[in-house]
C-alpha cells in the first residue's frame, strides 16, 4: 500500500550557509534566519508566509517562536521537534512537515538545523548530553564515536564485513567533495596513505572515518504539491518517509538485538512498504555518515547489500557519480562537504533531483535520505522528481 501522503508534499526551496568552525559571521540565530530567507527566495515565497517549522537533534536555541520577528511571520501554526539527540530525526522532520501540510495544520513549513560552535558548543558533546547516563560514563563512553565504534567492531569482527568497505565509502565521499565548490574538501583529493595512517580516534575509527562539525545552517521549504506548482523552482516530491525503532532497538545500554546494524531494519521495511519502491528503484542515496562504518551499515539495513556481498556492492566505482550503480553522498556528505548535523545531505538530495548537484547523476528520479545511523531513533525518506 502506498502511503496516503506519498507525493502530496514537495520541497520547494533550499538554503544553506556553511562556514568553517568558528568562522560564522553572525551568531547562530542570525545564520539560521539567513538560510531560511535563502530557502524562501529560492522558492519565490515571502518569508512572512512561512507558518510552520520542524527541527531535530535538540536544536535548543532556535525555538520557532523566536524566529517570527526576523521573518515577519504572520501566524505560527506548526512547531515541532523530532526526539533524539543525534541525526536520526533528519528524515523524520520531513514526515512531520508533510503531516502538518497534509492535514491542513500548516501550509508552508521550514525544516531546519543550525549549529554555531560558540552558541551550541561541540555537537558531539550535545548529542551525548542527550543520551548520557552513568552506565555509559562508567565505561568511559562520552562521545558518539564510541558506541558507533563498538557496533562497527562487531560488524567487522563477528559478521566478517571487511574493513575495506569503510575506506571505499570514505573515498567516494571525498571524491564528490573534491568536486563540489561548496565543500570543505573542495579541490582536495583524499590521500589514501594519510587516511590509513591517520591517528586513531576510537578503534576501528581513524580521524577520516569521523565527521567533523562546521558552523552554519540549512533550511528547506516544504509545501503541498499543488502549491509547489505555482512557486519558482522545480518541486522535489516526498515519496515516502518513516521513523522510529523496532522492538529490541533503542536507548538500551548496548543491549540492542541486531547490535551491529544501524537501526534501520524496521524503518526501512516500512519505507519500502509505504512507498511501493525497492532498493533497485533508488538512483542515488544520501547516507548520513557520522562514522564510515555506520554509512555502510545503513546500506545493509536498507537491503542494498548483505553481510555476505557487501564488499561487492560497497566499492568506490559503484558509489560515485555519474556512472556508479548507486552514487552516494554526492556533495561529499558529512565527511567531505561539511557537517551541520546532516542538514546538508537533505539539501543535496534536492539539488540532485533538480539537476543542480556538483556531481550530477544523469536522469536521477529518486533519492534516498537515511538519517543518523546507530541512533536510538532513526528515519529515512525517499524524494523523487515525479508524483507517483
Amino acid at each position: 500500500m502506498i502511503g496516503t501522503f506519498s507525493g502530496s508534499t514537495a520541497v520547494a526551496g533550499i538554503g544553506l550557509r556553511q562556514y568553517k568552525r568558528g568562522k560564522a559571521p553572525m551568531p547562530e540565530r542570525g545564520v539560521l534566519i539567513r538560510a531560511i530567507v535563502d530557502a524562501c527566495e529560492d522558492a519565490g515565497l515571502d518569508p512572512a508566509d512561512v507558518d510552520g517549522f520542524v527541527s531535530y537533534g535538540d536544536d535548543r536555541n532556535n525555538e520557532p517562536v523566536r524566529l517570527m520577528s526576523d521573518l515577519g511571520t504572520k501566524e505560527l501554526c506548526w512547531s515541532s521537534m523530532i526526539w533524539g539527540g543525534g541525526g536520526g530525526g533528519i528524515a523524520a522532520a520531513f514526515g512531520s512537515a508533510a503531516a502538518a501540510i497534509a492535514t491542513g495544520q500548516a501550509r508552508a513549513v521550514i525544516i531546519f538545523r543550525t549549529l554555531v560552535q560558540g552558541d551550541s558548543g561541540r555537537l558531539s558533546g550535545a548529542v551525548m548530553a542527550h543520551h548520557m547516563n552513568d552506565h555509559l560514563l562508567a565505561a568511559g563512553i562520552v562521545s558518539p564515536a564510541q558506541p558507533c565504534a563498538l557496533r562497527a567492531q562487531r560488524m567487522f569482527e563477528h559478521h566478517h564485513v571487511p574493513l575495506s568497505v569503510a575506506e571505499e565509502l570514505v573515498r567516494a565521499s571525498y571524491y564528490h567533495g573534491a568536486r563540489n565548490p561548496n565543500a570543505v574538501s573542495y579541490g582536495k583529493e583524499l590521500d589514501l596513505g594519510a587516511y590509513r595512517s591517520a591517528r586513531w580516534i576510537t578503534e576501528p575509527f581513524r580521524l577520516f572515518d569521523c565527521s567533523r562539525e562546521n558552523d552554519g545552517a540549512g533550511a528547506l521549504l516544504m509545501v503541498s504539491s499543488e502549491m509547489a506548482k505555482d512557486l519558482k523552482n522545480k518541486p522535489v516530491y516526498l515519496l515516502g518517509v518513516t521513523q522510529g525503532a523496532g522492538r529490541g532497538w533503542g536507548d538500551l545500554l548496548e543491549n540492542d538485538d541486531h547490535y551491529a546494524s544501524a537501526g534501520f531494519e524496521s524503518v526501512a521495511r516500512r519505507l519500502w512498504q509505504q512507498s511501493g519502491l525497492q532498493p533497485n528503484d533508488i538512483d542515488v542515496a544520501q547516507l548520513y555518515e557520522n562514522f564510515s562504518a555506520q554509512g555502510v551499515a545503513s546500506l545493509i539495513d536498507h537491503g542494498f547489500c548483505t553481510y555476505e556481498n557487501v564488499a561487492e556492492f560497497v566499492r568506490f566505482e559503484n558509489l560515485i557519480a555519474p556512472g556508479g550503480k548507486l552514487p552516494v553522498n554526492t556533495s561529499g556528505g558529512n565527511l567531505a562537504e561539511g557537517f551541520i548535523h546532516g542538514i546538508g545531505m537533505a539539501i543535496e538530495a534536492v539539488r540532485q533531483l533538480r539537476g543542480e548537484s556538483s556531481n550530477p547523476v544523469p536522469n536521477a528520479k529518486t533519492c534516498l535520505l537515511a538519517g543518523g545511523p546507530g541512533a536510538p531513533t532513526v528515519s529515512s525518506a525517499i524524494f523523487g522528481t515525479e508524483r507517483p
Binding site: L137, A139, G140, I201
Partner: protein, 142 residues
C-alpha cells in the same frame, strides 16, 4: 576510592546500590522469568510489575570492544588509550553490561572470557561505581 551513587530517573536504582556495595545485580521478571536490562518498572513482555534483583557472578564474554585514543571531553579521569567493553552475561539471559577493560589486553577479541570486579571510574571529580573487567588469562592489578 569511595564511589558515589547518583540519583536516577529510571528503574536502575538497585543496580547502583548493589554496585557501590561490591555486587553485580540485574533484575528479572518474577512472572515470566525474562531478564531486563536496562531495568524496567513493568515487564513489557508479560505486563508484570514484579521485578526481582539477583546477584550475579562477575563473569561473561566480550560482546564488543572499542579502544579510545582521543582525549574525549568528559573522560579526562581515564588514561588513554583505554578499552570500553560490552560484556554478555549468560547467567542473566544474555543481557549485556558495560565496563572498562583492565590488565593485559593481548587476548582481547569478541567472545573472550572475562572476569569482573566492582570498582569505580573517575568521571570529572566524581568516582562512580563501575564494572572493571580482566581477560581470564590476564594478570590483575594493572
Amino acid at each position: 576510592m569511595e564511589s558515589a551513587t547518583r540519583p536516577t530517573t529510571g528503574a536502575d536504582g538497585p543496580y547502583w546500590q548493589a554496585m557501590a556495595a561490591g555486587r553485580l545485580e540485574l533484575p528479572r521478571c518474577e512472572d515470566c522469568g525474562r531478564w531486563h536490562w536496562p531495568a524496567v518498572f513493568r515487564c513489557g513482555s508479560c505486563g508484570s510489575w514484579s521485578q526481582a534483583w539477583h546477584s550475579l557472578a562477575m563473569q561473561g564474554q566480550v560482546f564488543s570492544y572499542a579502544r579510545s585514543w582521543h582525549p574525549f571531553a568528559g573522560a579526562e579521569g581515564i588514561a588513554v588509550p583505554y578499552v570500553s567493553l560490552v560484556v554478555e552475561l549468560p547467567q542473566a539471559g544474555g543481557r549485556r553490561v558495560l565496563g572498562l577493560l583492565r590488565g593485559d589486553e593481548r587476548d582481547l577479541a569478541i567472545g573472550a572470557e572475562v572476569k569482573g570486579i566492582a570498582a569505580s571510574t573517575l568521571v570529572g571529580e566524581t568516582p562512580i561505581p563501575a564494572m572493571h573487567w580482566f581477560l581470564n588469562n590476564a594478570e590483575r592489578g594493572a
